[in-house]
């Protein structure tokens, strides 16, 4: 099936970004296609390429890796401006875009799952 994912919270503060990652990994393992992961509101902070958690899971790198595997991972441009998250901070294989990307994932998906607080 085609599944889309929305993430509404940033890394570490809430479990949402972790849950989204584990869900996506399990969906891929079951052979599903992820139409896209849209990082919205504080969720954009998961796209930060400079995350360096000493001795802990790197949530930023996880989303970057999903991007490297060909899954569209997109952070909301407007939310990024509100949070001082600049284009040069975006991790590899992740990009900034508008709500059109969210609409596209919704349109293409058989299922859509949101993780937030």
């Amino acid at each position: 099936m085609k599944m889309g994912v929305l993430v509404l919270e940033g890394p570490y503060q809430h479990e949402a970004a972790d849950s989204a990652y584990h869900f996506v990994r399990a969906a891929l393992a079951r052979g599903h296609e992820i139409t896209g992961i849209f990082l919205y509101t504080d969720g954009v902070n998961n796209a930060n390429g400079y995350i360096k958690p000493p001795g802990e899971r790197n949530i930023g790198q996880r989303f970057s890796e999903l991007g490297a595997e060909g899954i569209p991972v997109v952070a909301c441009t407007a939310c990024a401006r509100f949070r001082g998250f600049r284009r040069d901070m975006v991790s590899e294989n992740v990009s900034l875009s508008g709500l059109g990307a969210l609409s596209e994932y919704l349109r293409e998906s058989d299922r859509f799952v949101t993780f937030g607080d």
Binding site: M1, M3, L8, E15, A16, S19, H22, F23, R25, A26, A27, A29, R30, H32, R111, F112, V113, T114, F115, G116, D117
Partner: protein, 97 residues
Amino acid sequence: MLYTINKSPLMFGNLKSVLRVAPTGDPILLYEDGVYAAVKGAASEDLLAAAVADHPLYALKADLDARGLVSLADGVQVIDYDGFVELVEQHQVVPWL
């Protein structure tokens, strides 16, 4: 549809509120702090029993294990992330955040 709950039952009204909307027979998944509703002997057990009476009720293993929750109320089905995805294959999702 699959209704999902990620908040603890004694400090948040989410589980109580979802029971007013979710149609009988629709499954409910407890994950993140939502899994605290699955434990035996808590003051939320009546609420859990009401949920179990009308809905297939699941709790996510990784979140139960993290929180050290082993003694679960009757009727709770423990699933892993693979099972979460399987439920999503079968149902559209209503995240009751």
